[in-house]
Symmetry: C2
Subunit: 434 residues, 2 copies
């Protein structure tokens, strides 16, 4: 029987989508690494009754561990610590030394905003230094301390780990929390799971459904594995979680996927196409540059997402206006006149322009109709032409018609572009060398 | 007493963060528009027991309405329809005409992938055409139909609206669902709320906490409003929800914020800085171009995010490598040698290069150290220099040291850049003309 945990993400701004939650997913991965079963993430408004209802739900579900994120800030709607203290029956008291430690941290704020209201800052400070009786304090990374709050004395129930909302505070603080004797004791009973991921590009999800059926019909006990598939940015991901005793069943299942999808399976080791492109460029000692129209810089932004990308990214041109295509990216105006800005010829000229204009080995050209306007019968919204060219003359061009809205077309285009770069560099669509 | 609703987002891929949920936030906004109280979004793995537990939770919370997203696909882990049918005590049966309608939709898939396994497709098709007894079918946008499933005959409980996971299917289908007599009847009892948003840039959140305290001390009954504040990409958002009877209280509160924060309040009408920059450029009939280093194209990508941005965005240069800064963006190499690539002088030269190289009226230059490497004592990771220059000679330059990791530095930089563009164009930091 594995340890079960729940995550409570507080904040009306998250519930209503003004802020995208990064903590639930991040904590979920950490729990999985520790062998803890994570069943739910509950996003809840900043209302005491609702936060209390969330804690009650996880207690009723038999969770031994609840992690909360958010609601530790200085404003009045930040009420997580108080609600957790009440729920665990542990009154709050001021921790004076903690108050002083927070005050020292706030010196930076006072230096940065010299005209700040010092009394206001003091009041915020004091609020953040209130600690439930018997709780373990996790030292602040920003200004808010975290808490490990045990269930009421002598009563069974979840231990609640209270963490701040900003990911750069939550992440190091969770690592501190996981290292405490209090949590180590709670985690002692967790089971280890294996987690594997296969990624495929260029097939519909129904083909994977059929592979699952075929594997079962072929005698592979796939029901002893926990397999989930999903379509993400145009890639199909097959994630399997299993107990170590099922390793042979998993191996047989993975082989079945490999046999049926050799040409579209591109990752079996957790790597994403971004990793593979970066590694291939680094291995070859080559550089890349972009000349993009409809994606408006998103391909360059994605290529430079990774630390160290300056070793292989020269830069790019965002050739949004046709005059920029001709004057900066070096596209012959007659190509645009003859074939239109969204065409194989212009994509290829953009890729060539990226190479010559920015001095790169590999050039990426993207031109398309992101919509909602600008589509015609012949060239509908969603049509995007790609060209990836190497200085040595190799080249791949491709057009795709991407369904969905403007954001979908732009985002999916970055994925297609990266896969074409991968194909040009590795000369294959599937996993090389198998 | 207002109608309460809950949202269940299914999918292990969402729970574990491989996919970012866009449906919970979107549906939350729709519920708020309809005056429905949305208390929770529950993200749940693709496990029948856990999905059942989610439905039970919302029923126990007294929700009259539950919306689910996801789990309607063709693979075996897509089990939402079956679990909801069981929960509502309504056996599933094949809807043969629906099966045929889905089959016709699948013709596109068969054309696109001519070698597809037709039997597999038929089986997926049939699974998606199973409908619980007494449920209302919502016509497929993709291939999966949605469902409105009432509680068991004669028993109180939530109506469950089952929607597909892909946002471009879910969104139109929700509009269809909301127009059905079944949902109209359920929504009849909802209260109308007002929702207002104030946005500020360039102050810490503790200042807003103090404003709330001051407003209360000044006799404004802010406890009759539901105010939430949050820090988002460097902006402070103050969102207030209130019943129409509290309109005067809200007006007094808003005035208090306006009085204390005239210089940093930049939006009181829901507009984001992106809207304001776009409107200002359109109103002036001017164009913009970028020359970015550390943000790698993200500022250009953000400017071109909006439909119709081709009217004012010329394009950009991603000057990642120093040679691109000099050769393409026209930065004098001696400036880099003398001041370093991350400097006020180089930011200004990039902005000037964007104007002259791309023929724009306004140029944006960004250069910084996104990290994790490359920082020095004098120029730490997170230091970013910005310049926004107008062809007529006006210019704003600014440096910021942004805390957090590489992604934070890059993302926050796009916000700072947009605010500087806004300031240059509108000549003010706060809301103009008040």
């Amino acid at each position: 029987m594995s340890l079960r945990a729940g995550i409570v993400v507080t904040g009306t701004e998250v519930l209503t989508g003004r802020v995208v939650d990064r903590n639930g997913p991040w904590l979920s991965e950490r729990l999985t690494e520790l062998g803890v079963e994570h069943a739910y993430t509950l996003v809840v408004a900043d209302r005491p009754d609702d936060v209390r209802g969330a804690l009650r739900f996880f207690a009723d579900q038999g969770c031994e561990l609840v992690l909360t994120s958010g609601g530790l800030g200085p404003t009045e709607d930040d009420l997580t610590a108080q609600v957790v203290a009440d729920f665990q029956g542990r009154p709050m008291a001021l921790d004076a030394p903690l108050e002083e430690r927070i005050w020292r941290i706030l010196e930076n704020v006072r230096v940065r905003w010299p005209n700040i209201d010092e009394e206001a800052l003091r009041a915020s400070n004091r609020k953040q230094a209130m600690v439930p009786e018997g709780a373990t304090v996790l030292e602040p990374i920003g200004t808010a301390p975290g808490l490990i709050v045990p269930p009421p004395e002598g009563i069974a129930g979840p231990t609640v780990v209270v963490l701040p909302g900003p990911p750069r505070e939550l992440q190091p603080m969770w690592r501190d929390a996981a290292a405490t004797p209090e949590l180590q004791a709670a985690l002692g009973t967790a089971t280890d799971y294996e987690l594997r991921m296969l990624r495929l590009f260029g097939i519909p999800e129904s083909e994977i459904a059929e592979t699952l059926r075929a594997a079962r019909d072929g005698g592979i006990d796939i029901d002893s594995l926990e397999i989930t598939t999903c379509l993400r940015r145009g890639e199909v991901e097959v994630v399997t979680r299993y107990e170590p005793a099922q390793a042979e069943v998993y191996a047989a299942f993975e082989q079945a996927v490999r046999d049926r999808h050799a040409d579209t399976l591109f990752s079996d080791d957790g790597s994403v196409v971004d990793d593979q492109v970066a590694d291939a460029l680094l291995a070859a000692g080559e550089t890349i540059a972009t000349a993009e129209s409809c994606t408006g810089g998103m391909v360059a932004a994605r290529l430079t997402d990774r630390p160290g990308s300056s070793a292989y990214v020269r830069g790019g041109i965002v050739a949004y206006d046709n005059a920029v295509k001709t004057d900066v990216a070096g596209v012959d105006a007659s190509l645009i006149a003859q074939h239109g800005a969204v065409s194989e010829e212009v994509a290829a000229a953009l890729a060539a322009g990226a190479i010559s204009g920015l001095g790169a080995d590999v050039g990426v050209g993207v031109t398309g109709i992101a919509g909602p306007g600008g589509g015609t019968e012949e060239k509908p919204v969603g049509l995007v032409w790609f060209a990836v060219t190497h200085r040595d003359g190799r080249s791949v061009t491709r057009s795709v018609t991407i369904p969905g809205g403007r954001a979908d077309v732009r985002d999916r285009s970055t994925t297609v572009a990266l896969h074409l770069v991968r194909r040009l560099l590795l000369g294959t669509s599937g996993i090389p060398g198998r």
